[in-house]
């Protein structure tokens, strides 16, 4: 049993404020978890804005250096990667997927360019036929084909399709780990499930471990194996996804859990009415 990714008491702080009023903002405090190399899983980080979940993703990708603690990927310290060769080898194993597919792709560049350049850089392919074969293979995994994508621009496709192309691009170097930062929050609710289902397929068929970062608890419950809930840089609760999200024990996680509206008019309406009552009660109290 070897560790794919190991976070060992990782922290990250940023200086904020002016020259005289300088303080340290702890974006991530003492975060530890281990992903197992032998058992691919979907590991979910849940939290609202400012919880430190994106900082964590950036540190795992090596875009940000932790101020304390160590991140090890297959035993190697991510912050200590220096040479271009090592860096490329690391990037081939760890690939990102970003939040907004409309911003991730340049609107003036055809989408196949991204697939070709990834194939050229990480697989070392040189001939046109090899490169196209690699791009097509990756697109097949996400239910698309090169014929549909070749020569297209990002405005011609829907958010769901673009996000699938982003996943295909990430799959080209056969990564071990995909870090997906809010991959569905900019995608329509009706297309969301196609992306989320795709992650399941990647885990089961290709053995890719996925770090899924989200604030949406219902999709988190739907696909995750393990989950951690973060709040202001602290881990509030961690463990098996069904257990944690189905039956949260901490106050904060319970509040998050209750913030999910059920897809049922009667129950959802009751929640909103209860809120309304509380609001009115608070207002009359303040008025008297």
């Amino acid at each position: 049993m070897s560790a794919l990714l190991q976070l060992d008491h990782v922290g990250r702080s940023y200086p904020v404020g002016g020259f005289f009023a300088r303080r340290q903002l702890q974006a991530v405090k003492d975060l530890s978890f281990t992903l197992n190399a032998d058992r691919p899983e979907i590991f979910t980080i849940v939290g609202e804005s400012g919880s430190g979940k994106t900082t964590t993703a950036r540190m795992i990708l090596g875009n940000e250096v932790p101020t304390s603690g160590v991140i090890r990927f297959l035993g190697q310290d991510v912050a200590a990667i220096r040479s271009r060769k090592d860096r490329l080898a690391f990037m081939a194993k760890v690939q990102p997927i970003f939040q907004n597919p409309f911003e991730a792709f340049n609107p003036l560049t055809t989408l196949d360019f991204y697939l070709y350049s990834t194939a050229r850089r990480f697989l070392g392919l040189r001939t046109r036929a090899e490169i196209e074969a690699a791009a097509d293979k990756a697109l097949q995994h996400v239910g698309l084909s090169l014929v549909e994508v070749r020569g297209r621009y990002s405005h011609e496709l829907s958010g769901g399709q673009l996000q699938r192309i982003a996943v295909a691009r990430a799959l080209i170097p056969s990564p071990k780990l995909i870090v997906a930062d809010e991959p569905v929050s900019m995608v329509d609710a009706s297309l969301r499930m196609s992306i989320v289902n795709l992650f399941r397929t990647l885990r089961d068929d290709l053995g890719v471990t996925i770090i899924y970062i989200t604030h949406d608890l219902s999709t988190a419950y739907y696909i995750s194996d393990r989950v951690i809930i973060m709040h202001k840089g602290d881990v509030i609760e961690a463990g098996d996804a069904r257990a944690v999200l189905g039956n949260p024990s901490e106050d904060y996680s319970r509040a998050l859990r209750n913030a999910v509206l059920p897809p049922d008019p009667v129950a959802a309406r009751r929640i909103i009415e209860a809120r309304l009552e509380r609001r009115r009660a608070a207002l009359t109290e303040a008025g008297t």
Binding site: L217, P262, P265, I272, R279
Partner: protein, 341 residues
């Protein structure tokens, strides 16, 4: 055509506040002699009652934002109204949006207001919030500056904001506070009709319920009608009285939210509801095959047929009309068979 601003004998609460008849609005473009037409709003007929929250659902680029822009009379070329009418009924006076621009100008904000998409960003970043209130509402309220200020402060307090925020700049406020301000801005004149375009989409989960409760509270207090647009069906479940589903520029189903969630009549609606994830349920959700239709070149017949699990030969050639069914209306040749499938 229609007499505008005609006084009516009586305004009963059963009278619809908005009537949209056979509305068609297309984006018409002409580049280098090649003309292109995008049918974003295609033959939509609907009415909105007084004191009602009407939810409009549909995927992006289905034409839902174009529809409400057309309803609000806030359209610019290349979007043009091709045919049909939009008529409001305020205080028993009929207001035809596309026949009487002067009356429309007077009614705007006073009777009809708008919570914009991404309204977190509508506030001018270099001016204090109080200027936004002054710009939008002062002219319509007819109050002295000090009375206006008092009114705005009381209004903010009612929606749960400290009047102190009037002196802040937008960047000093959180997303939830800015969203509340946008709602406050739209409701300070106590309008009879509010259009809200994706007001909760950019918000954190924890704030979303508060904002929804606020919208409901304002609506109940003012007794106004709201058109609420979002692609998130769970939000519709929480506050909409009736829901209209838009697919490729057409209204494909409309009905009371309760009935729609229990028994959707159109296969697209059925898919939207069935694909919602629920906590406590991990059974695999199917995702819709195919891609969203191109409105410049929509599929023949029923526009949903290339992606529809129930499509038959008739669907490819004949477009189904929107007909009453049960408590609502639906446009599908196989409407009765959806529940069974």
């Amino acid at each position: 055509m229609h007499a505008t601003l005609k006084p009516e004998a009586s305004t009963s609460s059963a009278d619809p506040v908005l009537r949209v008849d056979n509305l068609k609005a297309y984006y018409q473009m002409n580049y280098f002699g090649v003309s292109r037409e995008v049918r974003a709003v295609d033959d939509i007929t609907l009415t909105i009652r007084r004191n009602e929250i009407y939810g409009i659902a549909g995927e992006s680029s289905s034409g839902k934002s174009s529809l409400i822009k057309t309803i609000a009379g806030a359209i610019r070329p290349p979007l043009r109204v091709v045919s049909g009418s939009v008529r409001f009924d305020f205080d028993g006076r009929t207001l035809d949006v596309y026949n009487d621009p002067e009356a429309m100008k007077a009614a705007r904000w006073r009777h009809l207001s708008y919570v914009m998409q991404g309204s977190m960003n509508v506030l001018n970043p270099v001016r204090r919030v109080k200027h936004a209130f002054h710009d939008f509402a002062f002219r319509h309220m007819g109050l002295s500056p000090s009375a206006f200020r008092a009114r705005v402060e009381a209004h903010l307090e009612r929606i749960g904001l400290d009047p102190q925020v009037l002196e802040s700049y937008p960047h000093q406020l959180s997303g939830g506070m800015r969203q509340r301000l946008a709602i406050g801005l739209a409701t300070v004149c106590e309008p009879e009709f509010i259009i809200a375009d994706e007001p909760t989409t950019a918000l954190d989960v924890l704030v979303q319920q508060d904002v929804l409760a606020l919208i409901k509270d304002v609506q109940m207090r003012l007794g106004s009608s709201i058109i609420f647009v979002t692609h998130d069906m769970t939000v519709h479940a929480a506050i909409a009285d009736r829901i209209g589903i838009i697919y490729a520029g057409r209204l494909v189903e409309e009905g009371p939210s309760q009935a729609m969630f229990e028994q959707p009549q159109h296969p697209y609606t059925a898919h939207l509801i069935a694909s919602l994830p629920r906590i406590g349920d991990t059974t695999r959700r199917v995702s819709l095959p195919g891609k969203p239709p191109n409105l410049a070149d929509p599929p023949s017949g029923c526009r949903f047929h290339p992606r529809c699990p129930l499509a038959i030969a008739k669907c490819e050639t004949e477009s189904p009309p929107l007909v009453p069914r049960g408590e609502g209306r639906v446009a599908c040749w196989r409407a009765g068979e959806v529940a069974a499938a």
